[in-house]
Symmetry: D2
Subunit: 359 residues, 4 copies
């Protein structure tokens, strides 16, 4: 029972290593008879592609997605949807030094200890290239959610020490796509871009925080007590490479708050029962309450640096790792579409699970 599948009703299973033949997946349980927009799928994949931004790795992959099954005459059939993208930009020689070395804060050491064998080419299975399949799966999920009136949108909240102002309110989602790096506050965006340039010039990397907002969620998603919707979102987010934290609603800041400040009072508005505030991040008792679901995900700095680092080889001897290859200064801009994809998979899964309880 290894962990390459995600979801209960809508199940994504991914495969593929960074420098193997292909990466891809099977999405099983996708509702039938839904019109699929393959251009949208490709657009989503392009959002995570390397070599796009100044601050991203220069690896060139077309990431051209191929659908193998489950779609007939433009519509989903209810059969499993298999898809893949071939790996074309192999440069295994870049990774020759990795054969006998453990990169700091990478998975080289733990994979080798666990499996007694390691595909050392570019991290093999532990590479972020695996997330291509998540983005593809998420793009299908988004198309299903779109029919239900649900949207999932991520944006940059913080990179390095530069963060959206505390009193920042996201009034329009359109502000996000206008920004090169997905930051909806132009002043902060400028500071971040300057910061990224500086970090890059030093061969270093930096972490950040992504916010995500899910709109149009009906009341009722989430399965107490263990499959609370925040629990499944937390798992989804922490399964993303480099993610180190998750919070929703008032989150870690809520720890310092009083109940009288944090509680969301119920009020009637336009004939509907809603809450006056949203400290609960759209979820109460593990079940969506009709408000926007809002959460943050913290990412550590990319561990591969363009500077020398000390490490050990597989014999435990000291070595110096040279900073070369192709890598991101900051994972956050490319990770937004991954956060969205995983969130969309969680929400779509719960929409399907919810059907059990409907009338």
């Amino acid at each position: 029972m290894s962990g390459n599948s995600f979801g209960k009703m809508l199940v994504l299973t991914t495969f593929g290593e960074s420098h193997g033949k292909a990466v891809g997946g099977i999405l099983d349980g996708f509702p039938s008879n839904i019109l699929i927009d393959l251009d949208f799928l490709q657009t989503e994949l392009n959002r995570r592609r390397t070599g796009q931004l100044l601050f991203s790795s220069a690896r060139k992959e077309d990431d051209r997605i191929e659908i193998l099954s489950g779609i007939f005459e433009g519509k989903s059939t209810g059969a499993p949807i298999a898809f893949l993208a071939h790996n074309i930009d192999h440069k295994p020689e870049d990774y020759a030094q990795l054969r006998d070395t453990y990169r700091p804060s990478h998975a080289d050491f733990t994979y080798e200890q666990k499996y007694k064998i390691r595909d050392y080419r570019g991290g093999g299975r532990s590479s972020a290239r695996e997330t291509l399949a998540r983005v593809a799966g998420g793009a299908f999920a988004k198309q299903f959610l779109s029919i239900k009136g649900i949207s999932v949108t991520a944006y940059v909240k913080q990179i390095g020490q530069y963060s959206l102002p505390n009193n920042f309110i996201l009034h329009e989602l359109s502000g996000i796509s206008k920004s090169e790096i997905g930051c909806p506050h132009p002043e902060t965006e400028l500071k971040i871009i300057d910061h990224l340039k500086e970090i890059k010039s030093k061969g270093d990397t930096v972490g950040g925080i992504i916010s995500c907002i899910i709109k149009g969620v009906p009341v009722g998603l989430g399965e107490p007590v263990f499959d609370k919707i925040q629990a499944d979102l937390a798992k989804a987010m922490l399964s993303i490479n480099a993610a180190h934290g998750f919070e929703y609603g008032s989150g870690f800041a809520g720890a310092a708050m009083k109940g009288s400040e944090n509680n969301d009072l119920f009020v009637q508005k336009d004939g509907k029962i809603v809450t006056a505030t949203n400290s609960s991040g759209g979820i109460q008792g593990g079940i969506s309450n009709g408000n926007d679901i809002e959460f943050n995900v913290a990412f550590k700095p990319v561990p591969t640096l363009m500077m020398d680092q000390e490490s050990v080889n597989t014999k435990g001897e000291k070595v110096v790792l040279k900073g070369k290859g192709r890598h991101d200064v900051c994972v956050v801009p490319r990770a937004m579409v991954i956060v969205e994809a995983m969130a969309a998979l969680v929400i779509a899964d719960h929409v399907l699970r919810w059907k059990q309880w409907e009338g």
Copy 2:
């Protein structure tokens, strides 16, 4: 597929409502032939019991656990272990006002919308009383882990705005149990106790943060790519009532760090490959690396206040909720054993899953 089961190899399924006949669970997949210390089980349950601390709810329950199966002549048999505690301190009349009312930041509204029926007595299934079964399940898991040399320990990191000093290092676990509230830094403990008294006197509540440290973990636990050990811990923690955030290793603070600061360099020590620092919180690529696993969980303030609050009834009409009943000022002191229990269940599950990959 409702969400009342947790784990893949070691599966805990819980049942029971706050004021039903009993709460309990079935633990399935527990290894056979393990000596079970029922006193330890009871001691763990006492740690979460109400009415213990000045700052906890006054509900009196013996929480006397009864084992129904799976143990024979003092040892586990490999059969499912069923257990329960009868509910004895029923005061359903305390909850009469809840029949037609939605408490702020509680699950009343969402449960009723989802299931079209609600056991309104004390929150029914959404009550924290359900966590009794988690603590029992966790106590079994701890006994199994103990044989493997693994320990799980939670402590108070923050309550309200009072937090352990930034440079605090937990040198000895014994400091935790000496504190009435589980805070290993006496100065901070005193501030917190004063703060809790003040909050209580106002009928208000307050949030906090629990830290957890898992010692003795072997290299190799965790199943990439979705069942990374941090992903399963995150899910476990966010499934606890009132938990609003999870972070491990450098966590949210890591967002502001550079790669060159955050990376854990490999070194050889006593003939073993280890890391010089532990920004990774004991996990790399989703797999334990042999270091302590360290994480934090943020809890919101308890939503039930001993003061009047505005809300609406099931018709959407304004009502005022009176502050009465029996409730905690802060969930954190009682939640420590719940955090430990859920962490122990995750680790034990992964110890059993790991067997698949061993030699």
Copy 3:
């Protein structure tokens, strides 16, 4: 991941040993807001109870079921339904000789080898007493199916060499309940009763075949390719103690048939597309086609005999097992309600899974 849970949307987890404190289970995923008839539940349990028939074991158990959770004011709430029956007729001394002995064709040997420990009292977990929890779970499932217009009915097809005539057609289900042993053909019934008396007089036992018919099934249940409805029924039936075979539709007899004989031709009838025959047993491509689902389950003779048998003890030394204790001459009459229960659980599970694909 031991195997004490059954189902995907509607999950029954059972616990309990033959001579432990109690047997019971948790039924999770049961739809909310359904009126529960506890008398029906008890009636179903009485159908499997020992000591009822001339030919059944004389163990006296009230099998009085107690519901611990999930029902509020007479209706299901969507929370897990926990239930149990205490074991009252303990006679562990009857089983003292089993401590160091392996009974022929029982699970004593395999349990001890697998778990390295065995609750030897009456077979412990391997006892048919565990099926009490299945019957209770099935009784809930039947109540849900009843609302959907679906009924599940088992009857005796064969005991020993006495079988319903080949050309027998079950015109009215009521014929079954009129028979003491559940055989709807009076002539066959008489022969069987005589045969059972004779077998009993010799201290021997005998096998049989149960037929089951499921009426009112809508078109569309079953999830290709692995969770075909016949696959899930087969698993359910072969999980019952002593079951040794499963067939549906034309079954084993179909092996000798030609396609031109066996095919079910589609015809239009009353404006609906139906099949002229039902060699497919109501299932095509793993999905129900609207016809009655029909299948047979073969049971081996009860292995516990009232005569001496040779065996070995745990050291491998020859011993003679005395025929004593309380046991059935034939499992079939009591197994009918178990077959129905397991079938009802499968069908209810698929009704809930089917919701994923509905409009």
Copy 4:
């Protein structure tokens, strides 16, 4: 939660339609560091390939398998193994008449009713071409089992009314591969071949029974109470297209037997506790007892005939289906490798599950 995955520790997920781009699958949980013989894989696939035998369909497919992931330098890495075979012999025009028609005893009608859309080309997902992925998955499982000393072998027991003699004992497995149709009794083989020729000349088809024997199974596989090894085998077998029955050990014949005839007495032999007979088919209480596991699977006749058949179109109007296309006279010769593959997947899954209980 659709049903395209099989297994719990070792999980095979399949994809692909008869005339889509490709069929294939992902095998997840396969142990790492195992040398993989790709030639064996191809040989197994050739055993199920069409166009091999006189009596099989004339569809020509290379069934050339391509491995996309999970194998590195000839060994499994513990990562998911993705594989596929492209569909090359498309003749969709053969299937034009199926667009608006329901073939008798096929899945056309039920798929269309369930999913509201149907890939009508050659049965789409319901085609036996899907079993290619099962055979590939099974070939991996066999390589793992081989290391454990376990072999899985199927043979023809019956085709039409021609069956192995009742007293037939399979002394040597080699007899099977010497037979063109996998029948280890030359006299029966000749009768069957004559029968198949006659059936073919009439454009008709015929059913049959496959026996399977699993050798080298250790004591201890199988997870009571629901995941008994016979229960998982039954599900596996009934999930194969056209399978209509499963029995193990004394099976349906056991229904007519007495306990004193059917019981397997324990004896000591060469210092080991074994049973004198094997009516239990190698399984007691759902757990393997060290004997050969033996079971039979009944297959209905292929429903596609080379003769005219009446049916209805999607409007319910009468139509006549012409017998054309490429189809088998009898599924049994090609189904042997599928039976073996599914059995190997079940046994390998339980070998991995068993590790939970080992020392």
